[in-house]
């Protein structure tokens, strides 16, 4: 059982969690929109750089949770402040802290009103997101998990598009309703495991029937967050109405929390139930891949297109996870990271187009490539990445997922193929329309190509797309032993012996 080294006091993880909160408190006292933007940019960049320290301190070969921190929080309830990371959470933390400064840059001009409140919400979000990936105490995890709701809903509801209030409320109600039963499951687990500590609950020493109940409660919550079909309906609404930074955070980080939940909780804590439900969930994942692909194909709104493509991509992630194979889970983790990079980039590009056109209609953007060649170049690479073209980041992940899936069920994977084709089709359609499509559009007069700031925003993502596409080995190495550890806990032989 991975328990990690007992640590104490404040460490790097706590710094990463609370630095954004401190930055938010400072931001609340600052005046002047430009000052606030710069402050948010500087603080998020500094946190992003500090998070690179994780790579130094984290030992990829080690098993269990590292950089552990542990102290009592509420003694009478047995709640601890307990942190720790494994390979998968390190990657997701880096993704979060890396996207944060890009979100600030992407909102530089987009957000013109209430800049202070916006930046405070963004920074508070970062605290909660990093906290979710570090928490090793279930109550701590739940607090961070739910603490995201308020700032995220405000981001959508205050700075969003025309139907923002509807989208914000839908997001809130869906997520909150989903996590209600999770709370009950957490309390039930505590009774069995004796504490709220997540590592103590792992290993599957619970009766099969109890595992099914807990798995079901978690499934509802995580399936909504991922989102898995049929719980996806909040996603297009939230994505479309959210401001650019909100969409980037939603797609880049929030959706990963569902799949992270499966990997961190569902598989190790309820292995028996996970094995039992895995075939069904693989079918649901394939349904999501097909549905997301076909729905994206039908969209005329660019943001909606990217939103539905997310449903499909996340289908790959859940497919890989529930294949319960080493390749599949590694692939799923890669898909999670890559989707954050690629979809985040696509949302940024769409946001930049929206700033110029005040429309997200694909037809209005037709032929923009003529006046915006730099934008077209970026969009080209990101679209190729989104369709998992070899040489880009997404290819590696989806290939591993397919390979893992094939070893489980060939029929299933053949069923998923149309989804892959659809992904190529909708991405090429968007790229073709925006870059080359239509005749000279009179609306496009006076539109400027990407500014230096916008190029700086997109460039890091472009580098990551190509680097991870050509050289994925370091990332895979980082998580390999963690994935092996998780799968080791799901193995039937291991779990069944512990059943009382």
């Amino acid at each position: 059982m991975p328990t990690g080294t007992p640590g104490d006091g404040f460490g790097l993880l706590s710094v990463l969690i609370f630095a954004p909160l401190v930055a938010a408190a400072v931001a609340a006292c600052l005046r002047g929109d430009m000052v606030l933007r710069w402050w948010a940019l500087i603080s998020t960049s500094a946190i992003g750089l500090a998070s690179l320290g994780l790579l130094n301190r984290f030992d990829p070969a080690g098993t269990g949770f590292q950089l552990a921190e542990r102290m009592p929080w509420v003694r009478s309830l047995g709640i601890e402040y307990r942190l720790g990371v494994d390979g998968m959470s390190v990657l997701l933390i880096l993704l979060t802290t890396g996207l944060a400064p890009l979100c600030v840059l992407g909102s530089w001009r987009y957000i013109g009103v209430r800049v202070k409140e916006f930046m405070v919400c963004l920074l508070v979000m970062e605290t909660a997101m990093v906290g979710v990936f570090c928490a090793l105490d279930f109550v701590l995890f739940f607090v961070f998990w739910e603490a995201m709701l308020i700032p995220m809903s405000l981001l959508i509801g205050v700075w969003g598009g025309p139907r923002r209030v509807y989208a914000a409320l839908k997001f809130f109600v869906y997520t909150m309703a989903g996590s209600a039963l999770m709370l009950a499951a957490i309390i039930a687990l505590r009774l069995k495991a004796g504490s709220f500590g997540i590592p103590e609950m792992m290993g599957g020493g619970l009766s099969p029937e109890f595992q099914c109940w807990v798995f079901g409660a978690f499934l509802l919550s995580f399936a909504i967050k991922v989102p898995m079909v049929p719980f996806h309906t909040w996603l297009p609404a939230a994505h479309v109405e959210a401001p650019t930074a909100g969409s980037v955070i939603l797609a880049g980080v929030l959706l990963k929390m569902g799949t992270y939940g499966f990997l961190r909780f569902s598989l190790p804590i309820t292995p028996h139930a996970a094995r039992m439900f895995a075939p069904w969930l693989m079918w649901v994942s394939v349904a999501a891949i097909l549905y997301g692909g076909l729905a994206a194909l039908a969209q005329t709104d660019m943001k909606k297109l990217v939103a539905y493509s997310s449903v499909g991509h996340m289908g790959f992630a859940t497919l890989g996870i529930f294949s319960l194979t080493q390749q599949g889970v590694e692939g799923a983790t890669l898909v999670m990271i890559n989707h954050g990079i690629t979809t985040g980039a696509l949302f940024l590009v769409v946001g930049m187009l929206y700033e110029r056109l005040h429309s997200r209609d694909l037809a209005r953007a037709a032929g923009l490539g003529r006046v915006m060649p730099r934008m077209a170049a970026f969009l080209g690479v990101f679209c190729l990445s989104s369709m998992a073209f070899p040489g880009t980041n997404s290819f590696v992940g989806e290939f591993l997922v397919m390979a893992g899936g094939f070893s489980v069920s060939k029929v299933l994977m053949i069923c998923a193929v149309p989804g892959v084709v659809a992904a190529a089709a909708y991405n090429l359609r968007m790229l073709q329309t925006v870059a080359y499509g239509g005749t000279a559009n009179p609306d496009h007069g006076g539109i400027r190509d990407l500014s230096a700031r916008e190029v700086i925003t997109l460039a890091p993502l472009l580098v990551l797309v190509l680097w991870l596409g050509l050289q994925p080995a370091p990332v895979v190495e980082l998580m390999q032993s963690s994935v092996t550890g998780v799968l080791g806990m799901v193995r039937p032989s291991n779990a069944m012996t512990l059943v009382p």
Binding site: F142, V165, V173, A184, I187, L191, S195
Partner: protein, 487 residues
């Protein structure tokens, strides 16, 4: 008996002096401000007195009155709530002008009653103190200013009195049974003599009926009918008092009375569990369709009383501590909402959800207070309501009431919707041409204080919750059962 120079009942003396001072003061006219200052000073001195007598233990009046960790904690909480209430009430704009001075006296007398009740170990003293706390509030409901188209305060006051008196009669009837069974009015003696009889129908009927009076104050099904009407009919200030002080007092008395029940009995937990589930569903489902903010809080109050009962279903110290913690946080959160109501309504009229529209532009601080209060009530982390619910659910689950916890989380999910409706109006609504709201310094203080309190109780509940759990050992509640020792 403590040998120190400070009498163990110093908080009571302070409040008593304050109440008498206010009585003298309100013989003259137009002394609203002076009254507010006196009561504020009384509350603050009460807090100090509570702190000074902290940790002391004493038996007074032949064992009828007991000062212990539990009672002093509750007194401290009650005095803090009193201070907040005085600040929230402010100028008493919605109370009839000629009796505003008297209003402060009523509030002081009521607070004194509830401060007394937490120490009572004799059922006669307990009933008398409980009535001392309740009667001023019956009057306070009727003090709302009359204006064209609004005379519901009299109806509300009559309802409040009638229901209250009926519930008290049932409570006295139940206490009569208990006295008949044991031949004593002293709670500890009664608990000891009742122990072998605890599962007999007569004892259960006695305890169940005796709880009626407390259910009425907490607004638990089936004694909840007065709640929405009284909230709606009473002035905002009075409704705030009714939502906080009596509920805290009732929870405290319930802790004392639950020591009468058999720790391993099944009947009483079943009764409480059914009532809790009923209250939660009743309150939350009806609150979904409310348009008036105060009525909404009334119905949600019924649901919250249901949550608090979960702690008593557990019948152990952890559960009782969780219930007291929850009611304390509830008092803070509901006061945050009433602060907003009383500041948004300029002339004391009731506030519909839609009139909160765009509050964040009219007054960011009030909107933030509302956000924290409403999400706290909804049980969203990191606010106090979440930790309270977690403590209650854990306590109930540990004693094998998993079904009740599932019912409660479903209810928490239902409740999100209407709290969200309130926040939605305040943050996403359009204020139209309504002017911005100017806040007095005292309002700012109370808003800031409530926000800090709600967040602190949510983020760092450790000291308070651990402290309450520790003092529960003095109440005669059964100790924590073997909890979660792996299965």
């Amino acid at each position: 008996m403590t040998t120190s120079l400070i009498p163990a009942f110093l908080p009571e003396l302070v409040l008593c002096a304050g109440a008498l001072g206010l009585f003298v003061l309100c013989l003259g006219m137009g002394r609203v401000r002076a009254g507010a200052w006196v009561l504020l000073a009384t509350g603050l001195l009460g807090v100090v007195a509570g702190g000074l007598t902290w940790g002391g233990e004493a038996m007074l009046f032949d064992g009828a009155y007991r000062v212990d960790g539990f009672s002093q904690s509750l007194k401290l909480i009650l005095c803090l709530v009193l201070v907040a209430l005085v600040l929230v009430s402010g100028e008493l704009r919605d109370v009839r002008e000629d009796i505003r001075g008297e209003y402060w006296f009523l509030l002081a007398a009521s607070a004194l009653g509830f401060v007394l009740v937490v120490s009572c170990m004799d059922i006669l003293a307990l009933v008398v103190s409980l009535e001392l706390g309740s009667f001023p509030l019956y009057l306070a409901v009727a003090t709302r200013r009359e204006r064209a188209g609004q005379r519901s305060q009299m109806e509300s006051a009559i309802k409040y009195v009638m229901f209250g008196v009926a519930a008290n009669a049932i409570m006295l009837f139940g206490l009569g049974y208990l006295y008949g069974l044991t031949g004593t009015t002293s709670l500890p003696v009664m608990a000891a003599r009742l122990r072998p009889l605890a599962e007999t129908p007569l004892a259960l009927a006695g305890i169940g009926l005796a709880l009626a009076g407390l259910f009425y104050k907490l607004a638990v099904l089936p004694f909840q009918f007065w709640t929405p009407d009284v909230y709606e009919g009473a002035s905002h200030e009075t409704a705030g008092v009714i939502a906080s002080l009596p509920k805290l007092g009732a929870v405290a008395v319930m802790v004392r009375w639950m020591s009468l029940a058999a720790p391993e009995g099944r009947t009483l937990p079943l009764l409480l569990g059914v009532l809790a589930a009923g209250s939660m569903f009743y309150g939350n489902l009806i609150a979904l369709v409310q348009r008036d903010f105060k009525r909404l809080l009334g119905f949600s109050g019924i649901a919250h009383a249901g949550y608090a009962l979960l702690g008593f279903v557990a019948l152990d110290q952890a559960g009782a501590a969780a219930a007291v913690f929850y009611m304390t946080s509830y008092a803070l959160m509901v006061l945050a909402c009433f602060t907003v109501i009383s500041r948004v309504s300029e002339d004391g009229r009731n506030v519909g959800i839609e009139s909160l529209a765009g509050l964040h532009r009219r007054s960011p601080l009030l909107a933030a207070t509302l956000l924290v209060g409403a999400f706290g009530l909804a049980g969203v982390p990191p606010f106090a309501g979440f930790m309270g619910k977690l403590a209650l659910f854990t306590a109930a689950f540990d004693r094998g009431h998993g079904w009740l916890v599932v019912v409660a989380v479903i209810n928490a999910a239902i409740a999100i919707y209407y709290y969200l409706g309130v926040v939605r109006a305040a943050f996403f609504g359009d204020p139209g041409d309504q002017p911005s709201i100017r806040l007095t310094p005292s309002t700012k203080v109370v808003c800031g204080g409530l926000i800090v309190g709600i967040v602190l109780l949510g983020v760092m509940p450790g000291r308070v919750l651990d402290g309450l759990t520790a003092v529960m050992s003095t109440t005669g509640m059964p100790a924590v059962a073997a909890r979660g020792a792996g299965s």
